[in-house]
Every structure is written in structure tokens, then in C-alpha cells.
Amino acid sequence: MTDKTEQIRIVLAKLGLDGHDRGIKVVARMLRDAGMEVIYLGLRQTTDSIVAAVEQEDADVVGLSMHNAGHLTLAPAMVEALRQGDIDVPLIVGGIVPDADVEALEQAGVAAILGPGASAEEVVATVRSVVSEA
């Protein structure tokens, strides 16, 4: 099993064509300040580039930031890409996800969803609990 006391390594990325990266930068900083190692991929990633990064970095969890209403397509695609790559790390989606879509994402295998206004404490606690449950 993964040693829960070890430092969490998280891959953070924007998937597809979505240029709104203020939020993900704030989240990166929150997680850094909570003592995590944040592997920051930035904008315009593909499911393949994220899978490659997760493999090479041996990340514990993936965080996707989504602000372009593509989450119902892209988040399940990401879950599927990780599954195809035989990588069992959890996926967290943050950004603009309407309440009505939360259940669909959870059904698709997204481990947690963080909406606008989530506090630093909430973000950090969610990442920690998702990793420890994985």
C-alpha cells in the first residue's frame, strides 16, 4: 500500500482548450503551502499527456481544472484514459461544475468535485481524503 505518511504528489492540469488558469494556479499554491509536491502541467493538456505525466511522476492523485463547460465530456474521458493505462490514481475535478452534473461525474468515476468558493482547507482536506481512500 502507499505509505499515507509520505508527501502527496499531485498532477494538476487543464485538459483541452480552456485558458482559464487563474484557479488552478491558486489551487497549486494552496497545495504547496499544505506541504504537497505539485507537478504543474498547465494549459492545453491531452488525456495522453496527463497519463504520461502520472506514470513518470508516480503521482498519487490527478487534479483537473475545468471552466469551459466541457467537464461532462472531458472528465469521463480522463477517467477512462487512466483506466486504459492501468493507473489506479483518483481524479479530482475543480472549477465550474453545475450541481446537476455532480452526480453524472461521480457515476463516471470522478473521486471528488470542488466547486467555486471552496476554501483552502476544503481543497487540501479533499485531496488528502481522496488519496488516503485510494
Binding site: A28, D33, L41, E55, D58, D86
Partner: protein, 321 residues
Amino acid sequence: MTSVRNLPVDALVELALTDDRRAVGRLLTLVERNGPEATECAMMLHAHGTGSHVIGITGAPGAGKSTLVGEMVQQMVDGGSHPAVLAVDPSSPLTGGAILGDRVRMAGVTEAFIRSVATRGHAGGLALAIPGAVRVFDAVGYNPVVIETVGVGQVEVDVTAAADTTVVVVTPGMGDAVQANKAGLLEVADIFVVNKADRPGASDARRDLELMLDLSHMTGQEDASYRPPILMTNSLEGEGHSAVIDAIETHRRHLVDTGQLAKRRRRRIEFEIESRLSTVFEQRMIELKTDQRWVDIVDTTTAGTIAPPAASQQVANLLLH
């Protein structure tokens, strides 16, 4: 669903040697944690060395190292090589956290194995983690292995200097010839790169480095058969990267031809053994601090009965026996 994360080291090593990237990634984590698994991994992989060329790339933050490495590594891939990158970024001394952002600059790179490494606070950690990670890449058959570090901190300089070929990246405006002659990183360079060469002051930077090398030559510090080249690059236009790759190859051949490659590698092993020893002694010292004998020695020294050098000698005797 299977997960490589739960496999024992020997199974991971077996998978890694088939270039299973998840297994390689997992081994790198174990090596970085420097626990018993790291030792086991080193024991198993040391004999598998393939003699990969190790390239250290260093320079001030923002000099353009990651972008340069990304461009070069992609060219190496296109040329049929199988490179790996260790991209080192600092951990926060306050929280231990880190933002490892080098992959952002290497976004276009496919095929190469890129691993981000945080310096982590603990003393000597990086000095053990880097050789350990290089050993994994070397055994799996990645060649070359590129280590990218910000050239601040003694350990980072040592690690970079322990590479087969050390490339120092500077930018225009780094300072004048006096700066270039100060002791430090510039002394360990096998190749200089003046990056952002489209900016004003690039030719001045080049001239200052040339002058510095002239002085090294005059004082005999320089290896007479090899003078570090100074190359101009501009990552905006993608200019100069293949010249850097050629210069690395020229330097590698020089090392082989003069027998220096074997010497450098011996030095690297020596450096790793030294680092490991320091860690062992440090650990034992930390343990000793909970011992009454340590308290007594500190008390008698504080009382003025014995001097600190004598106290250190007593502690050393305790550590060694």
C-alpha cells in the same frame, strides 16, 4: 486492477527493466524516499549499468534551462535516442511543499521520460536521490540522462558537477567579467550556453566568458586539451539547440579519448559513497543526542571543563565505536 504501487522491489525492477514506465516511476519514488527499498533497488540495479551519458544542466532561475532541455531532448528523441530528464525544483523550507513546474516548458516533448524532483529539506537527501535515480535510468537503458538544477546550494552544484558533461546556462545581463571570474559554478562548466541570445548584451556575456576562459588557460587551471565552447541559443526561434547537442557529443568523445570519462565516473561513485556515509553519521548523531553520554559531554563543555574540539573528539569516538 493491478497496481505497480503494491509490488515488491524485485518485481518492480523486473518490470522496469522492460521499460514499464509505471514501474520506473515507482522505483524513482522509492529511491527518493531513501528507505530500505532504495538500498534494495541500488543493490539490484548497480550491476545493470549501461554506461549512459549523464548531462548536468544548471543556471540561475529563469535562465531558460527547462525550455532548452525540452528542445534538446525532443531533438535527441527525433535522432533516435532514448533520453530521460530529472528536473529539480526547490521545496519550500517552511512547508516542505513544492510546485514542480518544469514540465510546463517541456510540454511538446514526447517519448522522453521526465521526472520532477523536489529538493526536500533533509540534509543530503538530494545528494542520494539523484545518483539513485540516475542508476535507475541507466539500468533501464535511458541515454542520455539529463539532470536539470538551479545552481544554488552546494549539494546541487556537487550533483551537477558530478555529471559526465556539465552545461552552464547564462543569460545576457548576468554581470561583467569580474562576476565571471568569481569562484563557483562557472568553474565546473564543460559547455557554456548564452541563452536568450536575441537580447541586448548577449555578445558582452560571451566576451566576458571568453576572457574568463583565457585566464583559466593562463593560470593552467584549464585542461589544455579542451576549452569549453560558448554557444548562443534562442529558444523563441529555436536557434542553437542542435549546436549544444553536438558540443555535448564532442565533449563526450573528448572524455572517452582522454580516459577522463572513467575518472569522472569513479569520482561520481566516490561522491555517492561520501554522501551516504555523511547521512549515516548524521543519523547516528541524531540518535546519540537522546543518549545521556551526549548530554554529559555538552554539560561538561558548557561548564568550561573541556573545549568544544575535545568534546567533538569524544563524540566522534562514541560514533565510531
